[in-house]
């Protein structure tokens, strides 16, 4: 699965991470002529949602591309360009009723044919979204405003999957020819709250509000100016001195952001997390007892305090405590118990411990995390050598076989199955071990056959238990991500997935 290139890690986890969300919060009369000036950590690598190589492009693409399905701030699926959807009784057909009367930037009407053309393109082998849609066999036009996805496996996960890049709708004219499609790299052509009017690639983007946008409540400004700023402190300075209205805030900057007068900092624990992920073909890490011992040796609260200023959450599973996937069944596997860890090492024939190398990013939060993990593992006799690499190289080198494990960030995904598929499916390119545990496919398919969120959460917890029983990964901490906005900004709420949308956000006159 093609997720989280290094740039995404930088964009969404380390420097300033991601925040934002749907409306709510402060009330006030928004000035319809105001322009929201927002500073973030990275620009967009391509305006082609299906052929980009960076999943973090979603952070900016969501302004110009609506999806079939949108997300509430709590991560629930809500109608987007699809007004409703339903599964067949056998969960093998997913039918979307599309919104009518909306048009793409170039005037092309949005209809079932356009939606099918987009999904067909999203399924092409060179698309970043194709692995996420592996359960889709074909897309059929039922009538002018209805499409049906024929599935080869139960696909409850597809609804939220289509709230991400995969579900973004591009004008079919924009990819009618290869030449036209090439143009999508630098200019958008979708249905969204905004249209791109000016771009300085990688650093500055100007968006103008779409006239007669279908969801008027989601659009309360005349435009947006998005600037990518590398330094987190500079982001805050922009708010302090009035050069920006909102800025992303990383965990380490939440406390300073809260000190800014006449500004509000809204942060929450998001799905973005820091993990110690093992290459099970290397070192002594091929033994499940060893991996479980590492999980038991770690004091995650200490890591949270030391590396994230206490902001966020110490991991009790692969999802935050208040998420719809319960962590109860795996909590014991991640609670520190140094004696149990030593016993497991002895059971694995390593009573005197062993040595392995962990790669990490040359970013303070990750280096600090690695140092703390190293110290904690040393207490049970494990010698972890740290090798820090630049973001552009770290992930690629790990996948090429460098190091035995990696301390890195995993971005939040709209649906939990996306995370499982990305790192634990034997066919996933990011599964560095290229193998999967017994029963994984069946458990995931079973979870994807359940539509009720509560029941599905329980089914996904079974998948999580399989993964953590084998110690395939050591979850460490969840990020707290937020946004600081001047007190003139209204309607902002931070979302659980951790990606800004600014739907319904306005600026008081």
């Amino acid at each position: 699965m093609k997720r989280i290139p290094a740039l995404a890690v930088v964009a969404c986890l380390a420097l300033t991470a991601c925040g934002g969300g749907d409306g709510g919060g402060n009330s006030g009369e928004a000035d319809p002529s105001a322009v929201l000036r927002y500073t973030t950590s990275a620009g967009v690598t391509s305006f082609d949602p299906h052929k980009t190589v960076s999943s973090s492009d979603y952070v900016i693409l969501n302004y110009v591309y609506d999806r079939l399905v949108h997300q509430s701030v709590d991560g629930q699926a809500v109608p987007g360009l699809a007004e409703s959807w339903e599964f067949s009784d056998d969960a093998k057909t997913l039918t979307f009723k599309l919104r009518t009367g909306v048009k793409f930037e170039d005037g092309t009407p949005f209809d079932a044919a356009a939606a099918k053309a987009n999904l067909d393109r999203a399924l092409e082998p060179d698309s970043i979204t194709a692995p996420l849609l592996a359960a889709v066999d074909s897309v059929e036009v039922v009538d002018e405003s209805t499409i049906a996805l024929q599935l080869n496996a139960p696909g409850a996960h597809l609804v939220l999957t289509l709230s991400d890049l995969a579900g973004m709708m591009v004008s079919p004219q924009a990819f009618a020819t290869p030449e036209a499609a090439a143009g999508l790299a630098t200019d958008s052509n979708g249905i969204g709250r905004f249209t791109l009017t000016e771009a300085d690639p990688g650093s500055h983007y100007v968006f103008a509000a779409t006239e007669d946008y279908w969801d008027a409540d989601a659009l309360k400004v005349a435009g947006m100016e998005v600037t990518a700023i590398t330094d987190p402190q500079t982001n805050l300075n922009g708010i302090s001195s009035g050069q920006a209205d909102c800025a992303l805030v990383s965990p380490a900057m939440i406390a300073p952001a809260e000190q800014i007068p006449n500004a509000n900092t809204l942060a929450r624990t998001v799905l973005t997390q820091t993990v110690l992920y093992f290459n099970r073909t290397k070192s002594e890490l091929d033994q499940p007892e060893v991996r479980r011992a590492i999980n038991l040796a770690l004091d995650r609260e200490a890591i949270l305090a030391g590396a994230q200023e206490g902001q966020g959450e110490a991991s009790t599973g692969l999802f935050p405590a208040d998420y719809f996937v319960p962590n109860d069944s795996v909590a014991d596997l991640l609670s520190q118990d140094q004696q149990a860890a030593k016993d497991l090492l002895a059971e694995a024939g390593l009573p005197n411990g062993f040595k392995f190398t962990a790669l990490t990013l040359t970013i303070p939060q990750f280096v600090t995390t690695a140092e703390i993990v190293k110290a904690q593992l040393a207490e049970v006799g494990i010698d972890m050598e740290i090798k820090a690499l630049p973001p552009a190289d770290m992930g690629v080198n790990f996948l090429k076989g460098e190091g035995d494990a990696v301390i890195t960030g995993w971005t939040g995904r709209p649906d939990p199955s996306m995370l499982f598929s990305a790192y634990f499916d034997d066919a996933a390119p990011q599964n560095v071990s290229h193998s999967e545990i017994d029963g994984f496919d069946d458990a995931l398919a079973a979870a994807n056959a359940v539509q009720d969120p509560t029941e599905r959460g329980v089914a996904l917890a079974e998948v999580q238990k399989l993964v953590l029983d084998e110690g395939l990964v050591a979850p460490l901490t969840f990020n707290a991500v937020g946004t600081v906005c001047s007190d003139k900004v209204t309607g902002y709420e931070p979302p659980v997935v951790g990606i800004s949308e600014f739907r319904g956000v306005g600026i008081n006159g």
């Binding site: 699965m1 093609k2 997720r3 989280i4 290139p5 290094a6 740039l7 930088v10 500073t39 620009g43 690598t45 391509s46 190589v53 960076s54 082998p125 060179d126 970043i128 692995p131 790299a185 630098t186 300085d200 690639p201 990688g202 650093s203 500055h204 600037t227 990518a228 700023i229 590398t230 330094d231 402190q233 500079t234 982001n235 300075n237 922009g238 302090s240 001195s241 009035g242 050069q243 920006a244 630049p390 973001p391 552009a392 190289d393 992930g395 690629v396 080198n397 996948l399 090429k400 990305a422 996933a428 390119p429 990011q430």
Partner: protein, 323 residues
């Protein structure tokens, strides 16, 4: 010496300099091209994304010609460079030259303001120190210029932005405004970063000018001018300064390269999307064409500055063989 002789000498010097550019650019091109092989990691994998399949990685490698032999890749690189094509950014799929040219006015503005600030501070303080050599004013300038040289521009930049920009809000703490939005607004955004960037150059100019001007002021013709009744201020500014400016011009030339390098830090601190910020992002994302483009461009700027310094020597010292 006749004007014609000076013109011939200048033309000859220019010709030699331009000829010397050829091997220099060849070496720079080879060095920047070699970055592809020196930087660890697989560029094709990096471009395709961490989660790309082997087939996708190979497709990228083939598309970009990274599967060609090194000599063939170098020939393509040189061929493109000769046509002014710096390649296409791996990260943003945009021609590198377009990205550089979009940011060039910003960095030129910043560098210009920094240099003006450096000259406005450096020349008067250098003159003051030279005229009051050995007195307290001289010591104050010496200590001040030492402090200026010793203070890293990121420290000064952070102090300025936090105190003047954030606390007192006298000037913008971040961002850039184009001159088309108003000269005042443009200048306001550049004063703090320009000061942070230019202070080292100011200190260096002050030190060099103090040393050379103090030497000139001890020359016989200066004493003669004073003895003839010229006001000391006129002697310094009309006669002394022109002869003492040669080292200053050298410093200005050298500092142009330093200022360009300094923009990487200053633009990051002040949230300015210029060439320095572009270079930082290119390095962080391993965007090789962007890195190569910036290196080639920076060398051209530095060489041009050096050439301009040589031409200025000719103006200031028409009797001397240009160095």
């Amino acid at each position: 010496m006749s004007t014609g002789v000076v013109a011939r000498r200048t033309a000859s010097m220019l010709g030699r300099r331009l000829l010397a550019l050829i091997p220099l650019l060849a070496i720079v091109s080879l060095a920047t091209f070699s970055l592809v092989f020196l930087i660890p990691g697989d560029p094709a994998h990096r471009i395709a994304g961490e989660g790309a399949s082997e087939a996708q990685i190979e497709a990228v490698r083939s598309d970009l010609g990274l599967d060609q032999p090194a000599y063939q890749q170098f020939a393509t690189f040189i061929g493109n460079l000769a046509q002014g094509d710096l390649g296409t950014s791996y990260t943003f799929r945009t021609p590198v030259w377009d990205m550089i040219s979009a940011r060039l006015p910003i960095t030129v503005s910043l560098t210009l303001v920094a240099m003006v600030i450096a000259l406005l501070i450096g020349i008067p303080t250098g003159v003051l120190a030279a005229r009051r050599a050995g007195r307290w004013q001289d010591r104050v300038v010496t200590v001040g210029s030492t402090l200026g040289l010793a203070t890293p521009n990121f420290v000064l930049g952070l102090l300025l932005t936090l105190v003047i920009g954030v606390k007192f809000q006298w000037l913008p703490a971040t961002g850039y405004a184009e001159m088309s939005e108003g000269f005042g607004l443009w200048l306001k955004h550049l004063l703090l970063p320009g000061f942070a960037l230019g202070i080292v150059a100011a200190a260096e100019i002050a030190r060099q000018l103090r040393a050379s001007l103090a030497d000139v002021l001890r020359q016989d013709y200066v004493r003669t001018a004073v003895a003839k009744g010229m006001l000391p201020r006129s002697v310094v500014w009309k006669h002394g300064l022109k002869n003492a400016l040669m080292p200053v011009v050298t410093v200005v030339g050298i500092q142009t390269g330093y200022l360009l390098g300094g923009t990487a830090v200053v633009e990051t601190i002040f949230g300015i999307q210029g060439l320095g910020d572009f270079a930082v992002r290119a390095v962080m994302s391993g965007d090789l064409p962007a890195i190569q483009g910036m290196v080639v461009f920076a060398v051209l700027i530095t060489v041009t500055a050096s050439l301009l310094v040589d031409l200025t020597y000719g103006y200031l010292n028409p009797r001397g063989e240009s160095q």
